[in-house]
Symmetry: C2
Subunit: 305 residues, 2 copies
């Protein structure tokens, strides 16, 4: 594949930026990759791993001369970084981000984007519970969706960024920011909040010890702890920035939970059985769509049919 | 290893019984294995797979002459099966079960256990979202815990059953029934109810379509669907039979969830960050205890470091 951008600046060198660097290299998609992160420690770890061609100390230096700039930092700091780099962005460059929330990031970033720079917000729906410069890997985006936001994007920069994501293995879909935030509140944000809550409750009981919770986790709880091991800063920012949609889905969730709770209290087995049957169809759809394997998971790192 | 029982009767031929048959064979732990299940279809599938030495049509036939009888059926039918087989149990035999709830199973089964038969309730904390005669595999219990209940059990039958479970790869712990039910409400029952609820909510939205939920599930939701794909009959019975402990933990859960919801509404980032940080220690404990791998899971059946 021919080069899609000649110089990419990665602001942030964590799981997502690191995976992008490795996936762009794998596909021979770009020329130079320049990276920066807040701490010297992260910059050194990224340099040691050879993630970028050049690592620099500040976002301003990183973006100078780049035709693609990627904001891969927690959602809550996107605005201040955009403000800092705005004056250094090259005319004709594309600015994108990978934040898990879109409306608030766009509101924070857009005012700092100079004329002649194309802002195309994005969000790859791929991740693990790991973070930092050592967490990334080239295959992260393979067969996963990447959502690009077209509220204000022009056609040519959007098409070019689409080609980059496809070159990194992703399937690209385009939607508007509000719809994105609603979809993610369901498929990601509320599930994460619930998992964090359940793990917190387990940690806080006096009659069941932590060591019991740990030993007997294979019975279902284990999957919650994986989700709840995700980065606290990233997730704090997600909830603060997708407040309305998350609270709306949480409202629906507690409503349904109360109905099931009432069924348990009353001994209404039919209600429970019907509910538990209905939810299986979604699982089949996910496997057919290639978004999970059908191998039964039992926590040993490889499935067993 | 020398034979621990000379004839084992498996009542039910699903995930757990099938895995026990394969694990007992692997270890050369028992003599003959006789099995039965409700439907001819399941009995035929189990026969085709060669799970048992003999498959018979009724529990009464299966238990005749057995020195170990295992009830591996949904929790809600254990009582009626115990009533049916009671008169056919051999003096000196051990009767056990693998039900996910213990207090109610013991109340349902114990009255039908004749004098001279030793009832030792049990629960292997191992499973997958699969069920039926084709779901079992010999490694299911390896390094997983199996809880045996000592409320009324005599020492010799308990020690013998312990050796059987250890021979199948499990680590055995002994506790009383009420404590078991409380621990499982935390590590298994409440997480399952929550996962079912979240998947049901996602299925029920008008503004986010099922096909969007399916496509974008990799962002966290996917793990919930795996849990919520578990057998509806088994789980209905679990909630109806571990009502009090489940409702107690659910109460704690909603309390915490409301506190986090309030923090989101008020924009209290510190509360969120503190909560999300605290939950990470439990994850580390689970990995150190060998109850999950540390490989990041991204739904492709094999982890990637
Ligand atoms: N993880 C996921 O599952 C996932 C999936 C899709 C999208 N996202 C989104 O992707 C973005 C990055 O997430 P990630 O998982 O890659 O996070 P991460 O591994 O924690 O990396 C974040 C990076 O941002 C840097 N950073 C933080 N504040 C900065 C600042 N003021 N100036 C410059 N660099 C700064 C950090 O540098 P230091 O290490 O020096 O602090 C670090 O390199 C977030 O917006 C997140 O919402 C995450
Ligand atoms: N799955 C787990 O994760 C897990 C883990 C630990 C413990 N457990 C417990 O283990 C037990 C069995 O679960 P499982 O996952 O093995 O279930 P499963 O795969 O659905 O198998 C249940 C078996 O019970 C049989 N059965 C049902 N009613 C019967 C009756 N009246 N008489 C004779 N056989 C009957 C079924 O026969 P048909 O197929 O003919 O209906 C089937 O063979 C349950 O008590 C469950 O709580 C499950």
């Amino acid at each position: 594949m021919s080069r899609i951008y000649s110089r990419v600046a990665l602001i942030g060198l964590g799981l997502i930026a690191g995976s992008m660097a490795l996936a762009m290299r794998r596909g021979g998609l770009v020329g130079e990759i320049v990276g920066t992160a807040k701490s010297a420690e992260t910059r050194e770890a990224a340099a040691a791993r050879g993630l970028c061609d050049r690592i620099v100390a500040t976002p301003e230096e990183a973006v100078t001369g780049a035709d693609l700039v990627v904001l891969a930092v927690p959602v809550g700091v996107m605005g201040e970084i955009a403000e800092a780099i705005g004056p250094y962005l090259a005319p004709g460059a594309t600015l994108t981000d990978v934040g898990s929330v879109k409306r608030s990031v766009m509101e924070a970033v857009a005012p700092h984007v100079p004329d002649g720079v194309h802002f195309v917000p994005g969000h790859p729906l791929a991740g693990t519970e790991r973070s930092g410069p050592d967490a990334g890997f080239a295959e992260l985006f393979d067969n996963r969706y990447c959502l690009l936001i077209d509220d204000a994007a022009e056609a040519e920069p959007l098409a070019r960024l689409t080609r980059l994501w496809e070159g990194m293995g992703a399937r690209v879909e385009v939607m508007d920011a509000d719809h994105h935030d609603r979809v993610l509140a369901v498929t990601s944000h509320t599930p994460h909040l619930i998992a964090y809550t359940m793990v917190g409750v387990a940690d806080d009981l006096s009659r069941v010890t932590d060591s019991e919770v740990i030993r007997y986790s294979a019975a279902g709880f284990r999957d919650f702890t994986r989700i709840a091991a995700s980065d606290p800063t990233m997730w704090r920012d997600v909830f603060l920035n997708n407040r309305d949609a998350t609270l709306e889905i949480l409202g629906r969730f507690t409503e349904e939970l109360f109905a099931l709770q009432r069924a348990i209290r009353k001994g209404d087995g039919d209600h429970l059985h019907d509910y538990f049957t209905r939810t299986r169809a979604i699982r089949r759809g996910i496997i057919e769509a290639g978004q999970d394997t059908n191998a039964a998971d039992f926590g040993r790192g490889s499935g067993k049919a």
